[in-house]
């Protein structure tokens, strides 16, 4: 009896040790490449540093400066606009796609793969192609609209409500919508897969019960599907918001602007927080200032995520 309990105690300790050893590479990587740099950047935000000359302590000056920079507020507005439009659009369309591919047809896997492909393609390649698609004169989009005799009526309609014509990346108003279209398109597949997994986790039992009660298609969706999907929806919502606040690549490539020195679109209409951080760090050589902005971004995203966690009890049903 003694020997048996002795063995189980030793094997438990041994298992823990083995687990730690396996985890060690990841933990070391995390400490060195994620945790340490994060805290270093927090420290750095109180300094002024251009990499080549020594550090200079400036206290909270970087934060004071960013709160008095009109461009920072513009950048916040642009990013907020991007998040507010792209997240709901992305969630709705990916849910629709998930419902469409959630059928037991023979070659449905082909469609699931096809919808997922944009997610894994290089953003650089995607952005370059879409830049050409959005070209106001020869691009695929405006050409199709024109051939369908829709371009002129649309532009006139826009003109009558005081909006400029659809010149996409050349227009201060339409450049950001163009970026939103590309971003939503690229990420649809990922959220679709999440929703698909969630849909397939809903037991048929619920639908059968609803049918017996005489529920219509819409009622089934509203009272069975949506509530049962709420954990997935919560996950997609949180991840989408966190991700979209950090939009960078498509903006950097598609709205590069003059000489690659000042990306951000016509009149800075597509300048986002991360792009602002990047420009100040690597074009203006202001590492401390950029670090300060990065931590403000962290606080913003953290606040949003915290709010979502608090509110989830109100609408997310588990189990």
């Amino acid at each position: 009896m003694d020997r048996k309990s002795c063995r189980s105690r030793t094997s438990a300790a041994w298992e823990t040790r083995v687990a730690l050893i396996f985890l060690l590479p990841h933990i070391i990587g995390f400490l060195v490449f994620t945790l340490f740099p994060s805290f270093f950047s927090l420290l750095l935000s109180t300094f002024s540093w251009d990499i080549m000359t020594p550090l200079m302590f400036v206290g909270l000056q970087n934060f004071v400066r960013l709160f008095s920079d009109p461009l920072f507020y513009k950048v916040l507005r642009n990013t907020a606009f991007f998040v507010l439009i792209s997240v709901p659009l992305g969630m709705i369309f990916s849910l629709i796609l998930a419902l469409l591919v959630n059928v037991k047809l023979k070659y449905i896997v082909f469609f699931r793969t096809a919808f997922f492909m944009p997610k894994i393609t290089s953003m650089v390649a995607v952005a370059l192609v879409w830049t050409w698609i959005f070209n106001p004169d020869f691009g695929w989009l405006n050409s199709i609209l024109d051939q369908l005799r829709l371009l002129d009526p649309i532009n006139s309609l826009l003109g009558s409500i005081g909006l400029p014509p659809l010149r996409w990346l050349a227009s201060p108003i339409w450049a950001m919508p163009a970026i939103i279209i590309v971003s939503v398109w690229k990420n649809l597949g990922y959220s679709m897969i999440m929703y698909l997994a969630g849909l397939q986790g809903i037991s048929d039992m619920y639908y059968e019960a609803a049918e017996i009660d005489g529920a219509s298609w819409w009622q089934k969706f509203r009272y069975v599907t949506l509530p049962m999907l709420s954990p997935t929806t919560f996950f997609v919502l949180v991840m989408s918001i966190i991700g979209s606040f950090q939009v960078f690549e498509q903006v950097f490539i598609m709205t590069r602007g003059g000489q690659g020195i000042s990306p951000g679109g016509p009149l800075d209409s597509t300048n986002t927080i991360v792009l602002y951080i990047y420009t100040h760090a690597f074009t203006y050589f202001q590492m401390g200032y950029a670090s300060a902005v990065a931590w403000i971004l962290f606080i913003i995203i953290f606040t949003f995520t915290l709010l979502q966690w608090r509110f989830q009890k109100k609408w997310v049903h588990y189990g």
């Binding site: 070209n135 024109d146 371009l151 003059g258 000489q259 020195i261 000042s262 690597f282 203006y284």
Partner: protein, 426 residues
């Protein structure tokens, strides 16, 4: 007795060979110490190939210096990489950098002045190089870089589109008004979309505005190196800027913003949708592959006076370099005739070495290669200042409103002056 002898001779022979090896090792390492230096630059596959050839030639001539080539595809990535390596204390020995960026680095002590090295080296003659290109790398009386090549603006035109419209080709003394008149006839619109543009610039109009004022006798800074005051409100400068805006918004012969990133203007020309393109010499190798139509070049049109802009990249030695002597040998080689011959052969740029001008003439198009050379005496470098990116942000930011037709050049000029004067005070 026999065994002892064998054991003894074995030990002896081992000792002998080991000491022989050690002697050889010590002798060779002290006689021919190979120094390795690192050289970093940017560029795609073709540029890489060119520099690999150059480095191979260097290795043949200087067997005791090895050059480690570190190439990064994009210019921005190159700048970032250089920054991180300087921060880590492992900066490359020799670097290539875009000329407008030199001041940003050298005022922070990243590059070392070359004057002493040049003065104490009898083999090197600074007079071989075009003064205007060298000026790019001078700062407060010291020279920080040397150029291999440079680029200058020219006018490319699509002969087929001209023939179809029955128009005469651009001449070497064309004025901008001649160009506007011709471009108007060559711009074809179909409702909301312009199917063919008359003229475009290979870049944002704000870059064209960097040298058009010079053609009108206007300046936008009190001096071109380390300026102290912004003078955009100068009427001649305002007139030039407004002219560009009119080409876009009034006469509509010049595509608006999105259509004028360098790549799309070039694409437009290559696909036959653009009659005239103003851009530097770098597109010539690409244009030589055009089969759909014939093209040629001419001098850029002029306002009141001819004026052009120089673009160059320079090579510098970093202050962190631990092998300055070897780095200097390599730098000399890089800007010497052998290396320049390799780089300029493809036709992307023009040699900065005066003795090599015949190199640029080849049987391939363009026929009117003279047009570029003729512009050289009138070409000036871009402004050199500590915070070029900050200045460009103001310049481009305010001028964008003019290009979008939202404001006049005069108002934008006043705002630029205000903000730039603030910036220059720092």
């Amino acid at each position: 007795m026999e065994n002892k002898f064998r054991k003894g001779s074995l030990t002896l022979s081992i000792l002998l060979s080991v000491s022989l090896l050690m002697i050889v090792f010590v002798a060779s390492s002290s006689a021919q110490k190979v120094v390795t230096i690192t050289y970093s630059d940017w560029g795609g596959v073709e540029v890489q190939r060119m520099f690999t050839t150059v480095i191979e030639k260097f290795h043949a001539e200087y067997p005791n210096i090895r050059v480690e080539h570190q190439n990064v595809p994009g210019f921005t990535d190159n700048r970032l990489k250089l920054l991180t390596r300087i921060a880590a204390g492992t900066a490359p020995d020799v670097i290539k950098m875009g000329s407008e960026w030199f001041p940003s680095f050298l005022v922070r002590g990243a590059f070392m002045p070359l004057d002493n090295l040049i003065a104490s080296d009898p083999d090197f003659n600074l007079d071989n190089y075009y003064q205007s290109v060298l000026n790019y790398h001078k700062w407060e009386g010291k020279l920080y870089g040397l150029p291999q090549d440079f680029n200058i603006q020219g006018l490319y035109y699509n002969k087929k589109l001209f023939d179809e419209a029955g128009l005469a080709y651009p001449t070497d003394d064309w004025s901008w008004y001649d160009l506007v008149h011709t471009a108007t006839l060559l711009t074809k619109r179909e409702d909301a979309r312009t199917m063919q543009w008359g003229v475009a610039y290979g870049g944002t109009p704000s870059a064209l505005a960097l040298y058009l004022p010079w053609q009108n006798g206007g300046e936008y800074l009190d001096r071109m190196t380390n300026p102290t005051k912004s003078t955009v409100s100068d009427p001649a400068t305002v007139e030039a800027i407004q002219f560009i805006a009119d080409m876009i918004n009034k006469w509509k012969i010049f595509p608006t913003l999105a259509g004028t990133t360098a790549q799309s203007a070039v694409d437009m020309f290559v696909t036959g949708r653009l009659a005239m393109l103003i851009i530097h010499h770098g597109v010539v190798p690409m244009f030589r592959e055009i089969t759909d139509f014939e093209w040629d070049t001419g001098r850029i049109p002029r306002f009141r006076y001819p004026a052009n802009v120089l673009n160059a990249a320079g090579f510098a030695i970093t202050t962190q370099s631990k092998h300055v002597k070897e780095a200097w040998e390599f730098l000399k080689f890089l800007v010497g005739p052998e290396a320049i011959a390799v780089v300029v052969e493809a036709g992307n740029s023009l040699p900065a070495h005066k003795g090599m001008t015949e190199m640029i003439f080849s049987p391939e198009p363009p026929e009117n290669e003279d047009a570029f050379l003729a512009e050289v005496p009138f070409a000036r470098p871009l402004p050199l200042m500590k915070d070029f990116p900050g200045w460009w942000k103001i310049w481009n930011g305010e001028l964008e409103k003019v290009w979008l037709g939202m404001d006049t050049a005069e108002n934008a000029a006043k705002r630029i002056d205000e903000q730039v004067d603030e910036l220059l005070k720092q």
